[in-house]
Amino acid sequence: MDYSYVFLILLLPALSFLVLGLAGMKMSHKVAGLIGTCSLAVVTVLCYYTAIKYFLIDGRDATGLFPTVTAFDFVWIKFSELLTFTIGFRLTPISVMMLIVISTVSFMVHIYSFGYMHGEKGFQRYYAFLSLFTMSMLGLVVATNIFQMYLFWELVGVSSYLLIGFYYPLHSAVAASKKAFIVTRFADLFFLIGILFYSFYVGTFSYDLTAMPELHQNVAGVAWVMPMALFLMFIGGAGKSAMFPLHIWLPDAMEGPTPVSALIHAATMVVAGVYLVASLFPLFVEFAPEALHWIAYIAAFTAFYAAAVACCQSDIKRVLAFSTISQIGFMLVALGVCLPGETSGVDNTVEYADVNGLGYMAGMYHLFTHAMFKACLFLGAGCIIHAVHSNEKMYMGGLRKYMPITHVTFLISCLAIAGIPFFSGFCSKDEILVACYNFSPVMGVIMSAIATMTAFYMFRLYYVIFWGKSYYETHKAEGAHQPHEAPLTMTVPLIVLSAITMLVGIFGTLHVFEFGEFVSANGIGFGTHINWAIAGTSTVLAILGICLATYMYKGEETPVADMLARRFPKLHQAAYRRFYLDEVWMFVTHKIIFRCISTPIAWFDRHVIDGTFNFMAWGANAAGETIRPWQSGDVRQYAVWFITGTVALTLVLLCI
């Protein structure tokens, strides 16, 4: 049970950030990259070691659960006797799983970036920010309390800001980074308020339900607090996880370097909201199951909306971004459809059977598998962009001949996300659908439909990139240069990630590997069996989606798609413009906040408040000006006043 080494997991990236940040400019690119990558390699090894130790060597304790291990927990700042802000390292099944996900993807991205960022200006800075991000993300998932999570939450936000704005001379990158930060910050405001409510009534920042037996009496009189606080916290999570209508920052965030999109905006940071809900899951189930269901509705709508938009985008990274939003929607739906179970009489806590908590396992499973195949997709997209020097689909087409490795790995990931058996996405998405059908058939049907859309738009993307008319061949004469396969540093991560996707898929489909054995809502391991009614239907639907995509986009020309776009120009345009939500937000920020609030306030300050003080100064001045002529300098006038005064005074005195 000795986990004393784990502080290194946070310290090494932090050190590498400091070293690269302070001395990076003095180093060569190679040295800087190696420092970052090596420190991360050590972290990855430690994370894997921790996971093996936690799950396999130490295993379950006497009660049949994986114990919650707090490796260290020191007081960072003491707010009051009750509320202490500690920073610690807490191992639970989901945090250990997250350690694996983050370290794996981050390590892959570090290696990949060697090739992708080769020769870029600011290479050292890039690696410094990557280290900072990794440190923050790891700190987030091992948080022992909600405030530590908030702290690292803000740090991942800022690393994301810095990385999106990496190409800072570009106006679009700056605008995107600003937008990402401000939108998530806006959501974090609700997170903070939620924390304030929670901590005040509960009396602690800890969210470990089992460690707080007194929690029930603390919130006994104020039933509204917990649902509200938890939902406010979820809004924070919705900001990071790009839930509608706070998703607007994520597509723009693709302005950052592509490996960053893979790491932050696909695999790790954007699932922070999911992780947050999963961490607070016992509280949600216990106190606010309705709030949990609301999360499911919001997430389902987001998933649908994002899938619809993804069908019409022309920028391949944006398609992937909307697909990410949609998939996060899946995860949150899975968490949201969990049902509270029986209340046990002993300590008044909710006991839920596996069937009620299936969504939890499925959501986490999908988080894990999605991180791997989505990172692979993004990194693949990075290779393609590297090769054709554009994000737009019109510059692609027919790339399968030039980039075989990218092609194969991309295909594997597409199959995984579409939910084809023997690929990892199938295992997790299937469980999500089962959980949805358990919750309500309507939800199940909706999610199945969205899954079909997923298959369609992913294969649309696949065909548009790798099949169809080749831009190079048609524009050879105009000097378009030949696309070429990416270097080894870039293809190896693709191979590793798609191998993970394949392995998890094969073993998961055959039920050799049971995710539920490690992560489950109540901590008790369970195995699943495939519900063929649902799995079969969804597979058939996915294949139908793929077929439709094949029919529409495989050929040199895409007559059906063009015809549809012409037939429904309004709808196509609306979907292409993401249903004008960016415009709405622009309206809110520019017109309302700047035009209608800030400008009038600034005017009011300069003219009314400042005017009042200037008026007072003017008043004093004017009074002086008025009495100034009385001092005429004419002696005889003074004498007149003097004598008149004397006479008047005498008369007054005489009269009295």
């Binding site: 003491k78 707010f79 005040f200 300050d605 408040i609």
Partner: protein, 494 residues
């Protein structure tokens, strides 16, 4: 003689040294030596203070010393420090030290400039060590008057107007202040001016307290940028030379919050309880209003001045919440805002010194031209918007958690409104950072500009180090402050 008197004696020695100094190098030498002495002294004081507390000394004031100065009115030169004053002294000496380096290349009348600068810091140090109301007031005035000349002579832009406005408004504040001080003195029996003695034996009737509380609170509040008495701040800061802006926003504005807490609330507790709601509304407005105003300003210094209105509003806001956590947060916020805003003003001054404009619309792409200053600016910006790891986060979170300890809806609503400022802060900070540092170089002339010189690097690094240090290891500071805030709040909350 107490060791604390050195805080006044050293500046006086610096003044003498400056008077003797014959050339620029000697002036600089005297300033560096003197401000280093002050810095060393305040660090030593902090260590000694913590050691004394750890050895079990629980006196409300340490290192006390008192000598009668003007017997008939019971005015004494009485000094003493508690945790709050210790951190304030530390802050002041850091700002004076870095301010010296920030005005290294100030050209006309360097010697005279440093004379007034040192006189100003004498007032600041004197104010923080004194526990006699009248002596405090005297040092307060000593700190205010040099501002007039420093802005009026060495300022930029509409400097005469700004200097006059600033001085007159602050003088108006002092007029209210002296009335309030006399009120406290006479209605408490006219026996002592010592803050601690009055607090220990306070028999001012409640209705009299209600009369004099607004006098003192507004009197200090003017300096603490209390809405609607904040308008001197944008003009004053915009026109002041770099180091004066630093000292003014970094330390002088803290005199306001410190005075509100130490004099107004401590000595008039029942009025503080009764009238806090009015000022709570005003400070809540300050917080949001300052942030919104900052969003549309085009002058870098105006943006920062309004941001200071917002952040200093948060200080007074937290003090009026009157819980231990919130008040600790308020003092932390003073400390943190002092350091951050000094850093900001230093950087703005350095950028202005090169580009000769502070208009955000004319600046752009500075990251490529002056990377050191730009990175410093980004760090200052991130610290200002409350990024964890910097002091702002610690202070703001302490304030919000503390404010929320008040269970009623009014305080809750005020807290939630104040919380929104963290989003608006992000808006204006990122707007500026995005506009002036990133994107394309706005003017080809900027390409010839150089990055920071060594003296500027010293100032910037020193401040960044302090901001990050406070943000990474806040526990000891918050303990020192919390121990001092506790007894005062026991008096206020009966």
């Amino acid at each position: 003689m107490s060791i604390l008197s050195l805080f006044v004696v050293i500046p006086v020695l610096i003044l003498l040294g400056l008077w003797i100094a014959r050339n620029l190098n000697q002036v600089r030498g005297v300033m560096v030596a003197g401000s280093s002495c002050l810095l060393a002294l305040s660090v030593w004081l902090t260590v000694a203070f913590i050691q004394a507390r750890q050895s079990g000394n629980t006196d409300p004031m340490l290192f006390t010393y008192s000598v009668a100065w003007f017997k008939p009115l019971n005015i004494a030169y009485a000094v003493g420090v508690d945790g709050i004053s210790v951190v304030m002294l530390l802050l002041s000496s850091i700002i004076v030290f870095t301010g010296t380096f920030a005005s290294w290349q100030l050209k006309p009348l360097t010697k005279e400039y440093f004379l007034w600068f040192t006189l100003l810091s004498t007032g600041v140090f004197g104010f923080f060590i004194c526990i006699d109301m009248f002596t405090m007031f005297m040092f307060y005035e000593v700190a205010l008057i040099p501002m007039y000349l420093l802005i009026g002579v060495w300022g930029s832009g509409n400097k005469e107007y700004a200097a006059m406005k600033l001085t007159l408004m602050l003088m108006g504040g002092s007029a209210l202040l002296i009335l309030g001080i006399l009120g406290i003195y006479f209605f408490n029996g006219a026996t002592t001016m010592n803050v601690m003695e009055i607090a220990a034996n306070n028999h001012i009737p409640a209705d009299i307290q209600n009369v004099f509380f607004p006098f003192i609170f507004i009197g200090f509040g003017v300096l603490g940028a209390l809405f609607p008495f904040h308008t001197w701040s944008p003009d004053g800061h915009a026109s002041a030379p770099t180091a004066v802006s630093m000292l003014h926003a970094g330390v002088l504005m803290k005199l306001g919050g410190y005075g509100c807490f130490r004099v107004a609330m401590f000595l008039l507790p029942s009025a503080a309880q009764e009238l806090s709601w009015i000022f709570l509304i005003l400070t809540t407005i300050s917080v949001v209003y300052g942030a919104f105003s900052a969003c549309v300003q085009t002058d870098l210094k105006y943006i920062n001045a309004y941001s200071s209105v917002s952040h200093c509003g948060l200080v007074l806001f937290a003090l009026l919440m009157m819980t231990k956590t919130a008040c600790t947060g308020a003092i932390l916020q003073m400390l943190s805002h002092g350091l951050m805003t000094a850093l900001f003003f230093a950087l703005i001054g350095m950028i202005y010194g090169r580009t000769h404009t502070r208009d955000v619309r004319k600046l752009g792409g500075l990251m490529k031209i002056m990377p050191f200053l730009s990175v410093g600016y980004v760090i200052a910006g991130l610290a200002n918007l409350g990024l964890p790891g910097f002091s702002g986060f610690v202070a703001e979170m302490t304030i919000f958690v503390g404010s929320f300890e008040n269970g009623d809806t009014f305080h809750r609503a005020a807290t939630i409104i104040a919380c929104t400022s963290i989003v608006i802060t992000a808006v204006y900070i990122l707007r500026v950072v995005g506009k002036i540092l990133y994107q394309k170089v706005a003017d080809p002339h900027y390409l010839e500009l150089t990055d920071a010189t060594w003296d500027e690097r010293v100032a910037v690094c020193c401040l960044i180090f302090c901001v990050a240090g406070l943000g990474l290891a806040p526990l000891w500071v918050s303990n020192v402050i919390g121990d001092a805030v506790g007894p005062i709040l026991n008096v206020i909350n009966f």
